[in-house]
């Protein structure tokens, strides 16, 4: 906490500036550009992902899974990790950056997915669609999600944050119930000849077809593989990996591209004047407006963009199965995304990805493997679990009398673990909010600018050609322009600034209120 990575790096650069030649200082400064930090961040993300893979591979080995089984577990984890990473990034744009409290994430996803499904589903299907190409569906789904976002945003954005929350939550439920309604489907069929099939859900080509087309001629799994498919299937075969598993991992590549695209887009927005205005709106909208920013326009733009991204994340998620139903878009989904963002750290894009990874794998999908792991462990240890108690209360009662087995039996029986997962989520959320309210990476100073703002004096040094010290030239202000130059030269010796910058970076947060004049 005392030295977040950003300032840490900067102060190192400042400290070295005086003792190095210009070219060295310049090189050092270039290595500190924000771009370099995300290289470090990418390593962090990949390392986390590999760690999670290793953990679940071990779990798979413990459960006597074969290679295909383990790869399938990891494939499924990757799906959730990637989808949550994308959703958290989109929500980070709304909530982390702009402070827009959107609790209708699931609804905007549903709009994206259903629009895509209606546009691309075959006209002959049970729930007929327009049979348009995949890319039309994706673009259309995103556009419709953005449009619905606009409709939600226009009245609510002019009001206080709580109203946006209520409007989005209500809208998301209206959207889900609309798609669940058979009357809606029938009306749609009468008017346009397409249907959503109410609560039974609908099939549609789905984004997985991209992979099928890449791997099979004509995109049909019964036909001949393409050159790429042939090569990869052959590679898989040499490790006894089934073509179906290879195909599944092919879709992971699509998801990975999606995450990278989301991340690059969000980082660019964050490191730009646009992102700076968003942050200002989050901090104090009146100040942003008083400094000449049309805050309503910024909010509408960012809300629409975020909704489109949520729609796209939904399309990539549901497109994996090629089937969607309204039950996938319950409000819980929205709160899962919020939990993941809180864990990762609101306002940090790298934190968002990490939060999505950790949530999607360790908290959301991981617990489902626990019952089998426990059963396996117990059978190895030769412990016999009795019949599970009927209620959590009975299990807790037994736990109170120091007998853990009934609780274990309860937790591992049937689908109980998927409900106990809520307890886990609650505990994790409480721990995070208590111990680390800023999340994994929310404490970092991620400056919203397209260039390194602290780099200024070094640039001046290079321009002025002073050879020995980068700090000495700050006093020679080049061109006043419309802004005043230092009217009182010498009042701030630049070396003082350097020193004080270095010290302010290292001091404890408590001393930050000291006014040098007092």
């Amino acid at each position: 906490m005392s030295s977040p990575p950003g300032t840490d790096a900067d102060s190192t650069g400042d400290g070295d500036g005086g003792s190095r030649s210009d070219s060295d200082a310049d090189a050092a400064s270039r290595s500190l550009l924000p771009e370099t930090r995300w290289q470090r961040d990418v390593v962090l993300i990949l390392a986390t992902l590999l760690g999670i893979y290793a953990l679940f591979a071990l779990i798979g080995l413990a459960l006597d899974f074969d290679t295909n089984g383990i790869l399938n577990v990891l494939r499924e984890l990757t799906l959730f990790a990637a989808v949550y990473a994308m959703l958290v990034l989109a929500l980070n744009l709304h909530w982390g950056y702009t402070g827009l409290f959107n609790i209708g994430v699931a609804g905007f996803m549903a709009v994206g997915v259903y629009t895509m499904a209606i546009l691309t589903a075959s006209p002959d299907a049970t729930a007929p669609g327009f049979g348009l190409p995949l890319w039309v569906g994706i673009v259309g789904g995103m556009a419709m999600a953005a449009l619905v976002g606009l409709v939600a945003a226009l009245p609510a954005l002019r009001l206080r944050a709580d109203y946006l929350a209520i409007v989005t939550l209500g809208l998301s439920e209206i959207i889900r119930l609309t798609f669940q309604s058979m009357q809606f489907s029938n009306a749609l069929e009468d008017a346009l000849g397409v249907a959503t099939n109410g609560g039974s859900g609908m099939n549609f080509p789905g984004t997985r077809n991209v992979v099928q087309y890449a791997f099979y001629r004509g995109g049909d799994r019964t036909s001949e593989p393409t050159v790429l498919g042939d090569a990869l299937f052959g590679l898989g075969e040499s490790f006894d990996v089934l073509p179906l598993v290879v195909l599944g991992w092919g879709y992971n590549v699509v998801l990975a591209i999606g995450v990278v695209a989301f991340y690059v887009l969000l980082v660019r927005i964050a490191n730009s004047p646009f992102g700076r205005v968003l942050k200002a709106i989050r901090e104090d909208e009146l100040v942003a407006a008083s400094l000449g920013k049309n805050t309503d326009l910024f909010k509408i733009k960012v809300f629409m963009l975020g909704c489109a991204l949520m729609g796209l994340a939904g399309i990539l998620w549901q497109g994996q199965a090629g089937y969607t139903s309204p039950h996938e878009f319950r409000p819980e989904l929205t709160f899962y995304v919020f939990i993941a963002l809180i864990i990762g750290g609101a306002g940090s894009n790298t934190g968002s990805v990490l939060g999505g990874l950790v949530f999607g794998t360790l908290l959301f999908q991981g617990p489902l493997y626990v019952p089998r792991l426990v059963a396996e462990g117990l059978s190895v240890a030769g412990v016999e679990l009795g019949p599970p108690p009927n209620t959590f209360y009975d299990a807790a009662l037994a736990l109170g009398s120091l007998d853990p087995l009934p609780m274990l039996a309860y937790a591992t029986a049937g689908t109980n673990v998927s409900y106990l997962r809520f307890v886990l989520l609650g505990v994790v959320l409480i721990l995070v909010v208590q111990r680390r309210p800023e999340g994994l990476l929310g404490h970092r100073i991620e400056t919203a600018a397209a260039v390194d703002l602290s780099n200024r004096s070094r640039t001046t040094a290079t321009d002025g050609g002073s050879s020995n010290s980068s700090s000495g030239s700050t006093a020679t202000n080049a061109d006043p322009g419309s802004m005043p130059t230092n009217a009182d030269p010498g009042s701030t010796p630049t070396d003082d600034r350097r020193d004080s910058t270095a010290t302010t970076d290292e001091r404890d947060p408590g001393s930050t209120d000291g006014d040098p004049d007092e």
Partner: protein, 282 residues
């Protein structure tokens, strides 16, 4: 109203022709408030105030607490839409415009209680302010080639920001979150941030409240430097010494309307002002 707006504002906008009140007769003053009214329920917070701010001056706005000074500021800068009356800026009627439109015309304000963008660094606070940044367009921020232009503009801006920070002697705080600054430093930050919008007229709402004497001296020096460059200031202040020693003109507000206007000497000898505000002590 439209005839007034049609008058050439360019001459007035050129602030290098700084002067006192002498040239104020020909062209419209930078800021003219006419019969401004703002009611909150039954309370008339501003009740028909009228005044001019002349170009290149440091004008003081004084009055007892509750006289309507801050509300008048809010009405002028678009935070509130006034119930009646007009605000003209460089001859243009700006009554009821949005705050961002008013700021972009060159009229910027600071707040009585400094409002910092706390979880943004001092550098970010200043980088935010300049108007019409190309990178504020979403597409330019994310498209690779357009982004190069954005970065170039940011580099130029960065120079101005550092110069401004040095001018206000808060450059040692550049990397800090604005939320960690002391009260006095926040006032400096707020004023430097307002100046980054490149304004013609700056409205300062009690910039010296809660500021220690040495910092107050520094702030006033900066204001004088800037005024000599041609900036126009309207300053709400309670300290009569500051008003007497630094302002060319003083406007007195009382119970939502203007009581008097003139030089500090005229004001301090005005019977009505003494009764309403100054009391017997001056």
């Amino acid at each position: 109203m439209s005839e007034q707006a049609a008058e050439p504002a360019t001459e007035v906008g050129d602030r290098t022709t700084a002067g006192g009140e002498s040239n104020a007769t020909d062209s419209p003053p930078p800021l003219r408030v006419t019969n401004l009214e703002k009611h909150f329920g039954g309370i008339a917070a501003v009740d028909g105030v009228s005044f001019d701010v002349h170009e290149g001056t440091l004008t003081g706005l004084i009055g007892p607490n509750g006289a309507g000074k801050s509300t008048a500021f809010d009405c002028i800068t678009g935070v509130y839409a006034p119930d009646a009356g007009t605000v003209e800026f460089n001859g243009e009627d700006i009554t009821g415009l949005e705050p961002f439109e008013i700021c972009n015309r060159g009229l910027v304000r600071t707040f009585q209680i400094a409002r910092e963008l706390e979880k943004m660094t001092v550098l970010e606070n200043l980088m935010l302010a300049p108007a019409g940044q190309r990178g504020e367009a979403l597409w330019r921020s994310v498209t690779p080639i357009a982004r190069r232009g954005v970065a170039a503009e940011e580099r130029d801006l960065r120079e101005r920001v550092w110069e401004t920070l040095e001018f206000f002697e808060i450059d040692h705080l550049a990397e800090e979150y604005a939320g960690t600054l002391s009260g006095g430093q926040r006032k400096l930050l707020e004023m430097s941030r307002a100046l980054m919008t490149d304004p013609d007229v700056v409205l300062l709402d009690e910039p010296l409240a809660g500021v220690n004497p040495s910092l107050e001296k520094k702030l006033l020096e900066r204001i004088h430097d800037l005024r000599e460059e041609g900036y126009t200031f309207l300053l709400v202040e309670h300290d009569m010494d500051v008003i007497m020693n630094h302002c060319e003109r003083v406007i007195v507000m009382h119970q939502g309307t203007n009581l008097a206007a003139g030089t500090p000497e005229e004001i301090t000898s005005n019977e009505r002002v003494i009764d309403a505000y100054l009391g017997g002590e001056v």
